[in-house]
């Protein structure tokens, strides 16, 4: 690792002595650009953050999604502070719980009830239990390459699993309705739920939208077969449409799971569902030591208020388009295709000339050196604090980085 990230490495050496992996999960250096990306952050503001080595970044990961308004948003922090002064963790929920669930139910068109938790995986796993409770069936259908959390039924990791963990989990490919039909025929009357993201956002691959009536087809099959349709809207929720991403893609699930954009960085997640599932939902036990904490709920209430008031999804779309058009133009200017995929608010860009991501990793490393955080393999996030000036500064960084790479490649 270069001296550029000396303090990051020093901290990581300390961490690796006491924590398996040093940093685990999606923030592990192994999952990004080891040696060429920062490992530890110090502070953040707006769309920028600073690492332990003192480098400043225009951020395009936004905490891997939770930061939707920008770091340290004054209104959200004020709402959180006010609640903190009253208290956070009690023997009971506070009124904030009711206010937030009411808010979610009012925002999401098909929702008649909601529950709150902490992480996306809490609610995706709970949702498949609700599907099983409602249908009294065992099997769950999911998409190949999708991410729904780290519970045994869905973790992308390998360790600690037994074959039985996934005995009743079956997969099909995005946009492959025929494959889904095949699964439904094969396991007729046995499928409890189908969990799907509103668009496909795998890692190490382009994102993909539904084609040829795919989502409508999924919904129709689920309805015909009595399968509970669960939308995992952890990444897209409230970023693409304030009413949930199904509104942007023209289908209606039975349960929707939200998390990342809900509270601008405060830990909270939610599932909302249709009336038909209310009784089943009441029977599936859910709780956690901090699931009733009031501060994140206050932050979520304020965040959702701002998202609606300022039409943040539209703003993200506009900012994202500026970035997209700029990056595509830079690629063209220098003889490379910088391929966009996914929604402009949650985009992914890669060099289309390769499939092994080697040049992509080099380009993103050069970008990081120059002060913007581009993830080489995972979708990016833009936030409401990204200004036109930030995007233009980013584009200059991206171009300089590409020029530096070309010197190595040519």
């Amino acid at each position: 690792m270069s001296e550029h990230f000396g303090q990051s490495l020093s901290l990581f050496e300390r961490a690796a002595k006491v924590a398996p992996g040093g940093i685990y999960g999606h923030m592990s250096p192994a999952a990004c650009l080891p040696g060429a990306s920062p490992y530890y952050a110090v502070r953040a503001e707006g769309c920028r953050y600073w690492d332990v080595d003192g480098h400043e970044y225009i951020d395009y990961m936004c905490g891997y999604g939770p930061i939707i308004l920008g770091y340290q948003n004054a209104e959200v922090e004020e709402a959180a502070t006010k609640q903190r002064e009253l208290g956070n963790c009690f023997n009971h929920p506070t009124e904030r719980f009711i206010e937030l669930v009411e808010r979610l139910v009012s925002l999401v068109d098909f929702a008649e009830w909601g529950v709150l938790a902490k992480n996306g995986g809490d609610v995706t796993t709970w949702a498949i239990q609700v599907a099983r409770e409602h249908t009294k069936r065992k099997k769950i259908i999911r998409l190949k390459g999708s991410y729904h959390g780290v519970d045994p039924w869905c973790t992308p990791g390998h360790g600690g699993l037994i074959e039985e963990d996934r005995e009743h989990i079956h997969q099909f490919g995005w946009n492959d309705l025929l494959a889904l039909q095949g699964l439904v025929e094969r396991y007729k009357g046995q499928i409890a739920g189908l969990i799907i993201t509103p668009y496909h956002h795998p890692v190490f691959a382009d994102q993909a939208f539904a084609e040829g009536g795919f989502l409508e087809g999924v919904q129709s099959i689920c309805k015909a077969e009595g399968i509970v349709l669960i939308m995992d809207d952890i990444r897209g929720g409230f970023r693409l449409n304030i009413g949930g991403s199904h509104r942007a893609f023209g289908f209606t699930p039975d349960i929707a799971c939200f998390c990342k954009a809900m509270a601008n960085g405060y830990p909270i997640s939610a599932a909302v569902g249709c009336e038909e599932l209310r009784i089943a939902a009441s029977k599936v036990f859910l709780t956690g030591s901090y699931w009733n904490s009031a501060v994140p709920m206050a932050a979520a209430l304020k965040t959702l208020e701002i998202l609606e008031r300022d039409d943040v999804p539209q703003k993200l779309e506009t900012v994202g388009r500026r970035l997209s058009e700029g990056l595509e133009a830079i690629g063209k200017k220098h003889g490379h295709k910088i391929q966009p995929s996914g929604p402009p608010a949650i985009p992914f860009y890669r060099l289309a000339e390769e499939t092994n991501f080697v040049r992509q990793q080099q380009w993103c490393a050069e970008v990081m050196k120059r002060g913007a955080f581009f993830h080489p393999h995972h979708n990016w996030f833009v936030c409401a604090s990204h200004t036109e000036a930030d995007i233009d500064a980013t584009l200059q960084i991206a171009e300089d980085a590409l020029i530096a790479c070309k010197e190595r490649w040519d």
Partner: protein
């Protein structure tokens, strides 16, 4: 997994993943070469289930043929896969039936001696592991064994074939240092093979161990590989999921070829 299926895979892995490592041992060991100098020999192992492989031992190495060899002077038949597995694991069982080469059966003493050497190379003591010269042989030997094992499992073990079909595919290269001699695996539907040297096409993933000690420990699953990547001890360039998937599959080989260690 039922015992019969386990023993079948165990025997398959010995025949097609472990024993091909004799070549590396003979090339690296003067003692092995001396043993073969006066008495080269060849042997074909067969089992009732149809598993078979042949090995031609000379002082320059061991040619492995993944099937019958009419030229093998010895042909030994195992009554079952469990019989073969027990023999290869050196458990006390009755000997295999010689179908050819009765007069040369004493040459199996040389095979046993070579097997002992192979074991020493593949299960190194801390002392041996401390020697750079040992590690230079051990790392490619162990890596090739594991990759050959992956190819076998992904073709013949139900859960591994499912993992193979669902997981990432491509060409992956493993090497020690930026300029180290690579071993590779082509891991894609219809193409499951391993080799040494730089492959003829650009790899999808390249795993570079900073030095042979890191590589040896990683091969033995004695290193926190996630931390090692962050510390720069292991560099993974390109399709990280492919390398991760292969690492997982390589770990599945161990319980078959060395059940004691795995237990």
């Amino acid at each position: 997994m039922k015992p019969a299926a386990f023993h079948h895979l165990q025997t398959r892995l010995y025949l097609h993943a472990v024993f091909p490592a004799f070549d590396g041992v003979i090339k690296a060991s003067q003692e092995a070469r001396a043993l073969l100098k006066e008495q080269p020999f060849s042997v074909c192992f067969k089992t009732r289930s149809g598993l078979r492989a042949s090995y031609h031992f000379t002082e320059t190495g061991c040619d492995y043929i993944p099937g019958d060899s009419n030229q093998a002077e010895l042909e030994l038949f195992f009554f079952s896969d469990s019989h073969a597995a027990a023999t290869f694991l050196e458990q006390t069982v009755f000997p295999p039936l010689p179908l050819r080469g009765f007069g040369s059966i004493r040459k199996m003493d040389t095979f046993k001696a070579l097997s002992e050497m192979l074991k020493v190379w593949l299960k190194p003591t801390e002392g041996r592991l401390a020697e750079e010269s040992f590690r230079e042989v051990y790392v490619p030997l162990a890596l090739r064994l594991a990759l050959r094992g992956v190819c076998q499992l992904c073709s013949h073990d139900r859960s591994s074939t499912q993992l193979f079909s669902s997981g990432p595919h491509g060409l992956a290269v493993f090497q020690v240092g930026d300029n180290g001699s690579p071993v590779w695996i082509r891991f894609q539907p219809g193409e499951l093979e391993t080799g040494e040297g730089e492959p003829d096409s650009e790899p999808d993933a390249r795993v570079i161990f900073r030095d042979s000690m890191v590589a040896a420990l990683a091969t033995m699953d004695k290193v926190d590989s996630v931390a090692a990547v962050g510390l720069g001890q292991i560099e993974v360039i390109g399709q990280v999921p492919l390398a991760d998937h292969l690492n997982f599959l390589m770990e599945r080989v161990q319980p078959f070829v060395d059940p004691e260690v795995a237990a």
